[in-house]
Symmetry: D2
Subunit: 344 residues, 4 copies
């Protein structure tokens, strides 16, 4: 189908083979709808265990933008906005889904996709000190992504600091884990699922980019945090009738903690590619240690590569150069990796 090497994104292929096998195996069983089925129950139990958070509410949604707008709308009051990096997915590439729910995205400057506790603290302090604050959008929560859109990672210490500032101002901290498996598989990551459950008020464990056909598992450590979340999900068009299809996928992803390992091939391949790029003299960008690789390419060379490789345009660097992204996924093969390196 796709003769070029598939490094454009981490959602170019289907699902982990175990998922496909299980879908086939369970296909004709009849169950209740809307996630009220034994597969979903089993998946949720496994996720609670993996997060060491036995009381957590876990809900399985279909996609990332849908999950972000549903959770953020659920966490905010009508007059509140969400703090995010200028480069946050909700700030840039969700077609205004947050604003469509009535909420402003309050952007902070970023460093390689990350926002610091200090800048969040400064924003909150300034807001509450401003004599015009009642005429402004009240910051009602903080959104970060881990890994970020630039592939970078928060450390456990950074996450804890963000948690502390949020707790001080009594606003929730929410983590977008669209690519969480690639953080968990990364040697330099020290944020575990139990850490997320400890420091966040809500987060989601990404399936779409991490081995599922689709699906994102929202974890709400304190189940009283969002009353009537089921209705909110339905209202947002985010309730899958055959919720079992999500349950089956996450049940497989968390069987024997597969999710903790599923990103490893992607990280190994990405590290190999980064090494090769550096060796060939390319400038790497943003310091991503995960499955997204950013580098500067001379435009002529890029055209040449583009004939054999699918990659993503990231941004213009200068008149002659471009920042591009190569993404590896859970299914990348050594052959693909070596073929790419050969071409670079």
């Amino acid at each position: 189908m796709n003769r070029k090497l598939p490094f454009a994104s981490d959602y170019m292929r289907g699902a982990h083979p175990d998922i496909i096998a299980r879908l086939a195996e369970t296909n004709m069983a009849a169950t209740g709808g809307y996630g009220l089925d034994p597969y979903s129950e089993a998946a949720k139990a496994k996720i609670r265990a993996a997060c060491a958070c036995e009381n957590a509410e876990v809900e399985l949604l279909v996609g990332g933008t849908q999950t972000n707008s549903t959770v953020i709308d659920a966490l905010l009051r009508s007059y509140q906005g969400v703090i995010a990096a200028q480069t946050g997915h909700i700030s840039t590439h969700e077609s205004g889904a947050i604003e469509a729910c009535g909420h402003k995205v309050l952007t902070l400057p970023h460093t390689c996709g990350k926002i610091s506790a200090a800048s969040v603290r400064g924003y909150l302090r300034d807001f509450h000190a401003d004599e015009n604050r009642d005429h402004m959008v009240m910051p009602g929560m903080v959104y970060i992504s881990h890994p970020t859109e630039y592939g970078t990672l928060y450390s456990k210490a950074e996450l804890r600091e963000l948690h502390e500032i949020c707790a001080e101002y009594r606003i929730p901290l929410y983590v977008d884990g669209a690519r969480l498996a690639y953080a968990l598989a990364c040697p330099s990551n020290d944020v575990t699922l139990p850490d997320l459950a400890k420091y966040c008020d809500a987060f989601y464990i990404g399936g779409t980019k991490c081995g599922a056909l689709f699906g994102e598992a929202v974890v709400i450590p304190d189940p009283d945090r969002i009353p009537h979340f089921f209705t909110i999900i339905k209202q947002h068009g985010a309730l899958l009738a055959k919720g079992r299809i999500l349950g089956i996928q996450f049940d497989e992803l968390f069987k024997d903690d597969l999710y903790l390992r599923i990103g490893e091939p992607a990280i190994r391949a990405a590290d190999r590619i980064r090494e090769a790029l550096a060796a060939k003299g390319y400038e790497l960008c943003f310091g991503s240690p995960t499955n997204q690789i950013f580098c500067v390419m001379e435009n002529g060379k890029l055209r040449e590569i583009g004939e054999k490789v699918e990659y993503s345009f990231w941004e213009k660097y200068d008149g002659d150069h471009t920042v591009v992204r190569f993404a590896t996924d859970w299914a990348v093969t050594e052959e693909e990796t070596e073929a790419l390196i050969g071409i670079l």
Copy 2:
């Protein structure tokens, strides 16, 4: 898994085996995301052909509520509402998804789930004659479902009449086809896919309840009807990253016009069950000729049946009786049907 007979709904099982096989077969191919893949292209071409509408825009979404709120929001201006039956799915069981997008559902009385062209005409005429109309919600489109929530069908003549009144007032007609396959397989139905393309401004071909794991194919016969529909889909959280999963499913559903036949077992089973119910003296309700069977049950008998059969509560009939629904699906077996009849 489910030892009771599965007649609670038409979304209790997985997908048509051909779909599962094709998902497995294509699983490791790499393609572009967001529906820009060859499977989706092929599915859309087949749907256009089946609708005899070669210019139609076809978009594949995930679920019914999502599809309704996305399409309705796309068709209406901010100050307009949507006319629907009081029993329409958008009026009752979508958790206010239409209102969440800012639009009022303007309800009309129904007859067995249907609204008549006469009542739509009366509503539109009265609205435009009302000297307070500028203080009211302008009716901006008409929503019907085919089959309706009560399993009933519009005739081609009724559909054409609705089309004509909508055309006269220059507002679009939209058909929710969540269970469309069961209409198409029903001997008493005379509305074809090309008829829908001819008489509607938008409609969707339901996959979730008609043989897919999930998915609804929106058909917009005049592709200029909704500019920037892709962005609207994304904004509503309704864009599937691996859009191919939808493409593969609809490509299978429309291969050799499978979709036109897939509902037949359900209709045959439903007819058998209705016949048996009538023979046993039960009162059938609403006159549904499709895969939903409504009848009145004495409560004691119902409890007994409930031990062996999954059914849906519909509404209270009187102190001693209940209206219940049995739903058959594309995968119902003769054994299941006979077993149910034996129990009734």
Copy 3:
């Protein structure tokens, strides 16, 4: 300017002369904006005293639709709707302002504009008993108007019953008092301002139709009921920069309890007109005891009257007759009343 007799509505004239005089007298004083001025403070204190509710939050808004949509949006969570009569102003003549804020109006049948505690109780009980309730819009508050759109009044006993059922389901009761002065001036009314403060979670004291140029005073007996109401008002475009103009008006309306008496001339005139209509054999409608008079007119006679009187069309009665409304206001003169009676 207007040579016809002005009985079309109760907002055809300016304001009580004391208000105009006070606006002139205070015109060049400089004060803070946004209601943070001594006139507004004084008005709020007088309103709290009149309501015998010294802790109440009182906010002064400009108009009725604005007030309804702001208060209702403030009281509801994103997934909740508001219960109202089918004839409630928010259901019919606010151009979808409630839906524009994302909330469904859940309508109940009415009797002369009123809903009963029994029907509210039935609705709430049925909702919470419905196994599909999580797919429906949760009723989050009750809206009534006093007087209603049909000029009728709730008794104190009826109001208390509504309060009790709301308290039982822990949802707020909100009263739209656009024409409250005409209730307070009506001999058959037994609901006082302190009663409203006791039985409602929020209500507004109408100024626009009751002697002000414009303005509605929202009273929230428990000031913790709506956190950040100021910001919500601003967000809804409902915050008047020179809030003092509202303060001055309500300060005058509540000086020496003027508001409790200001509707009296309107009620006297309306009673005279109703008496005359009955004497002349007209059929009176809806049993309104307040400043709105509804009766059936033969269409030929109506055309004749229409040449000399401004009235409101209410609804078609039959092919030859129409239900019309005459409204009196605080400023109606005996001359106008007698002139109208002479013409009828």
Copy 4:
């Protein structure tokens, strides 16, 4: 009432005496509601004449935030956002009113409150060249304020350039004229009302800050630009029942072109104050030539001034200094101006 010198804002006093007199004089006349009265008609005719735009639709609304959110929501499609300066009123001090209507404010860097045609052009060009544009918020209009929030002015040439780039991309240009009278009275302003009608798709002529008790006159040069604007106004809670109160005010403001001159005393006073500040060695900021005066104050001196003068905090300058704003209005007296200068 207010013993300190009133330089905190330009909405601290009532209205031009002619307006108060006219309100008193017309008070007991009876007219139709909702702006369908002869005063409003007369006001609109005068505004059309002053704008040399005889076909313009003119609508009279109550306040600035209300006007911005109503007009912007009317001009945008559901998936579009509005380009504005980071310092634009809609970006900062409207409590998220634009987002509450579902629209993102797309901010551009500013120079003293202004955005340039070049930066708008760059934004639009980059957006339309971005391969991810369908996942982003489409820029659907441009918002500027004249004078800006920093008191600065666009030149006619700059306005025309913005018009041209908007026309090229077929998106409307909207001007917030909350303080327009102070531009029109400013010697360095070369943008006239007819220029606004020529180069904008919508703009509003501010009343609240320019001599009215309240009120903003929206001018839509091409009346087909916004169908059903009346309903949109109502839906936004922005329709005044006694619309005549707006009509009377604007009729007075445009009698003998009063509006063109009403800001003159404010400009004269502001120029005097700026001269005095410069002479005393204060650093003036942002280059405002209109009725807002910005300067840097040492904090000790500021406390001293604050005992006798009401001013606005603008922003922190450094640890010891603050940027403050003094605002003059149409009613400022020479005595007040000299008293302020004496204190500085």
